[in-house]
Symmetry: C2
Subunit: 748 residues, 2 copies
Amino acid sequence: MSTEKRSFSIVGQSVPRVDGVAKVTGNAKYVADLTIPGMIEGKFLRSPYAHARIRSIDSAEAEAMPGVVAVLTSKDLTDIGPYIGRGKNKDQPIIATGRVIFAGQPVAAVAAVDRATAEEALGKIHVLYDELPAVISVDEAMADGAPRLHDFAARNICAHHELIKGDVEKGFAEADVIVEDEFEFPMIYHYAMEPHAAIAQFDGDGITIWTSTGHPFGVRQDVAEVFHAPLARVRVHVNFVGGAYGSKSGGKIEPLVVALARKAQRPVRVVTSVAEAMVTCRRHAITCKVKTGVKKDGTLVAKQADIFLNTGAYAETGPTVAGRTLTRILGPYRYPHLKINSYCIYTNTVSAASFRSIGGPQTAWATESQMDIIAQKLGIDPVELRLKNLVEKGEELRPKYRPLDADLAKGFKLVTDKLGWDGPLSKEGHGRGVGFGTTDPGAPLASTATVHVLADGSVVFMCGTSELGQGAKTIMSQIVAEELRVPLDRVTIRPIDTAFTPFDRSTGSSRSTTVMGKAVELAGGDARRQIVELAMEHFECPEDAITLQDGEASAGGKKITYGTLINKHFADQGGELVGTGYAHSGMAPTPANPLFWEIGIGAVEVSVDRETGKVHVEKYITAADAGKAIHPLQCEGQDEGAAMMGFGHTFYEAYQWEGGQIINSSLVDYKVPTFDDVPDEFESILIEDGNGPGPYGAKGLGEGGIIPVAPAVANAVYWCTGARVKSLPLTPEKVWRAIKEVANERKV
Amino acid sequence: MSTEKRSFSIVGQSVPRVDGVAKVTGNAKYVADLTIPGMIEGKFLRSPYAHARIRSIDSAEAEAMPGVVAVLTSKDLTDIGPYIGRGKNKDQPIIATGRVIFAGQPVAAVAAVDRATAEEALGKIHVLYDELPAVISVDEAMADGAPRLHDFAARNICAHHELIKGDVEKGFAEADVIVEDEFEFPMIYHYAMEPHAAIAQFDGDGITIWTSTGHPFGVRQDVAEVFHAPLARVRVHVNFVGGAYGSKSGGKIEPLVVALARKAQRPVRVVTSVAEAMVTCRRHAITCKVKTGVKKDGTLVAKQADIFLNTGAYAETGPTVAGRTLTRILGPYRYPHLKINSYCIYTNTVSAASFRSIGGPQTAWATESQMDIIAQKLGIDPVELRLKNLVEKGEELRPKYRPLDADLAKGFKLVTDKLGWDGPLSKEGHGRGVGFGTTDPGAPLASTATVHVLADGSVVFMCGTSELGQGAKTIMSQIVAEELRVPLDRVTIRPIDTAFTPFDRSTGSSRSTTVMGKAVELAGGDARRQIVELAMEHFECPEDAITLQDGEASAGGKKITYGTLINKHFADQGGELVGTGYAHSGMAPTPANPLFWEIGIGAVEVSVDRETGKVHVEKYITAADAGKAIHPLQCEGQDEGAAMMGFGHTFYEAYQWEGGQIINSSLVDYKVPTFDDVPDEFESILIEDGNGPGPYGAKGLGEGGIIPVAPAVANAVYWCTGARVKSLPLTPEKVWRAIKEVANERKV
């Protein structure tokens, strides 16, 4: 389906992963596998209260324990700036200072010769708390007289965004039908296989950190700010990361581990448990109150929404997530009139952070569920209703934003055809549902890459993208091999070491293939240009007479290897060429936001056991717009993985609270999908229109696929049971109760 | 004295060394200070015989010892190419194979949990040798019927070079006086404060080495060849090196340490002792038979020399050193007729390698000593004789070589004036001597550097030059700061890690400031150009309206920091600019050899205790042509350090042999100069003509200063005692005997 005419030798091939052997043989070393000479172990003492004043901390007994090297509290940090946070929202102390505002917040930290000693010492730190009233839900937080988490935040509002288009009241006046619903999406755990882990060293060489992060340079920035260090003195190593999904975006435990290492004057490792990771960050719970006006023929005319994000104790990325919900609540639909308000609310819970498609699944849960409510009310097929209202390619989806760059109807047809859509109820009585993920990914610019051609013709390159499991090392290696016309096995990607690896903004927001990929493409091209110049000099011929292939330049029937060209250029003494590539502001089209639209489409067929409420997924079709699939199998893996993650929050996942405490903070109590949950039929379709801003027309994917799952399933459940569930997850009990209610209503 | 008109802010300043604090506080970590997780200790079993066939090696008892992890012999290396050597001379097995050909050659290697166990295990490896006749001296090696070290080397000749100019017989026929002498220069130990040490790891990530070397990329190359690995899979770390002087040029112990780590499947560290370093490499002993014809007025007309280098067991750099002696025997003098032959001879001794001014002090010992013999014979002042014959700036010194690029007479006058030269004998009866070091340094091309400007305006750069104590880190940092117009403290040089650091040929042959310095200058300039472009865009003004200073760009009265420019360029997301610089074949003038002439000039005044033969250095003046002194104090330090090293071989140093064994292989028995040996008056003069090919007109120094010391002192001793010593060192006994001999001759 690609419109790309260029022929590729490596790009577009599902080559073996370059990190595959290391991973399957167990040779890949994750942070918890690393040993740093002199390293000791750290543990955090965490608050048992959701909200309390710290009256005193007595660490004398812990400090006196043999094997305890250091006990750290906020008192040790008065010489630095121990607050982190995105942008201007530096509201989060790296350790509780005076007050704790969520259960699980670090209050003290211990470094000891081994983990058992450190854990024992935690019990010998005596903290006196004065418990304070806590607010766990948005309603509690916004209630009159609610305790305030931060002096500067009236009504605990962390951020508020508004989107107005047209005149929403006029729109509702013109509507034939108005529907109003409220949808609930709970807090979700990222469940990266590897919980947060970091090792820090603080010595005469500066600050060195080995960490599991998607933002090596973000961690560098946060730590540099906290410790008043120039960027050049903070060195962050990242190699293998066991998943992230947003949980490892920016400084998380790292600044506190550095502070502990600074006090201990020894390298300190902190490896958190799942329970600790669950109080490190989470996905935003969101309540959406949505009112939509529609003509009888199904034309949408107005939408009003109030979106409330439970952002937890500190701002983190909350304001950004709230901002993003304004677009994401729209779905891919055309509304003449809009009034969307999004409120990001502080509560006494662990801070919410980035999570695969920030604000996407939560708002689509509302919008796509409501689309089927409308379809049902108007007696229009849900696919028809959507097709009628889809924003077209080149049309503005949100005012002042870049027009849509994808043909949604085309992709939608592929998906519904593959599902065999002929209505929302199959002849076997299965329910069917569909949904879109059409989002404005963050995909921020700012990536620099270098590609080095060595004197033996081998190629190495430096690229600050974290390999989180998404396959970035392989994709980037393919781009380098393609640009330099060398076999893939001659290309080596270096691990990330911010002392050497050039800057990359972050790994996340679907940006790496598009943004860093572009920098890598340009760096490879820059190195190739230099090789061509050497070949022109060598063959004494013009550029167009040179052909590069398999690490050799040829012209007029003669060949020379890159290595020989380089040696010759460097007076037969070895040598190395360096190509540099940048993804900077010049890469963005106008308007710059978004860099591209990320497209995911989902369609599902389910059967429901009416006795138990258990939903069985018969078939799931997911589609993603790859622009150009550099590694098709990985693209499918990303898209399918996103969908499977969507089944997690659709059926199982949610933080459970009791008295300000999380009561399901283990993987026994917090169920996630397993291979048993893979739909009977599960297909991924890659759309390749070659129109992305990334290399060869690629654009980001991997976040779109998670979005439509929950509403598609809920819609399918509705069509085969009549039961409409508006809060996630769709547990058997909840579905069963909804079915019962429908039956009761019918009886009445 | 500089002719350079450009004004500098940092270049030319003797700023504090950037590595100074780490060194004086003891924080600098040398290889022996490093700990690699899982690391064990290695030791080499060395041959007690200078020449023997290995009948068998029984390592069973050693292998059975608790704590012994591996015992390695040549049998473990049949799957690789276990030979190293420069260029085509790959004659050196990394461990003895079938035969040992010098005492001290590694025969087996042990890796054990600690050093004591490894040492104990050495005694439990049972090697049966059949001793063979050995040749220690060149005469023995070249004698009829002498045992051959290598089948391919008839008469044990490793290499032979000849230089012919004019017709030397015709020249001698035209001469009024002909002198013939033979001079002996013994084997010398480099005496780097840190003997050879390396840690190697061989695992799924490839080969990783931490070593004390001046040639990180040479070690990479050697190891890659031995283990058939691509360059990209061999990673060499170098940070602090405790001196080298040529002893750490190219692979030394590293390939064997890697082989041991490969067998042990653990990281292995080998730290050698002084005695082991003395059998790792040394300076060439050289015998020079020199015949010179001269006119009565002192004009040199012909020179014939036969130079014999005792190169030891393997070629190493011997062929290169022998080649270099052809130029170096000439000194800076004009000869119409020349016939120089240089023979590099294998002997059953440790291989000779590079050593500060390869072949320089040895040949100058002959030439400069003989100049005073001629002066005495003709009754001409030694300074006058030299001035009469000095090659002038722009004149050819050696046929087909680049003409001389320095005004020697001018520098010579500075030195003799400073000494107060009014003849070879002072009115106090002190002897005076002078000498030149005018050499063609190797200074091979091939250096790549990158300079990175980070988003907070700090600057980091990567440069593969090893800091050997010579001050390279400081010099290179100054160049970067100068090029980028930032304060020096904003510049950070990264340690060498060949996984990231771009290629550099080597640290040595006086090349770093000139060749790598040029690459660093160009890389800094490339980064500066990018900043200027951003500033032009920002200020909307032409390039010439932009001024860069103190990390800020200004135009029209407005200022902006580099960091702000970068952030802006990268859409306020951070960012990094990378500048690249190359020193490649295009840097060399035509003819390319040498890249520059390295100039050292020495003048000495001594008193001699006639009762003991002890020579006291009253005054020593040394001068070096820096081209442009980037860090004057370091230049002086290099020049004075070279001269002091020269006093070592002048007065004390020489390997002592007995039955093929070195009998003074400890620092108690092998005396080197100390602070007590610093001359009463000791001055260094820097000549800055700004005409070097390096940055700002700089050229290499640090090797020239060692050359003239011995002949200048011997000449001074002659003039005040009449005793002419033609073999080094000038021990009190030798001088006393020579004085006695003169007295006896006079009596006769």
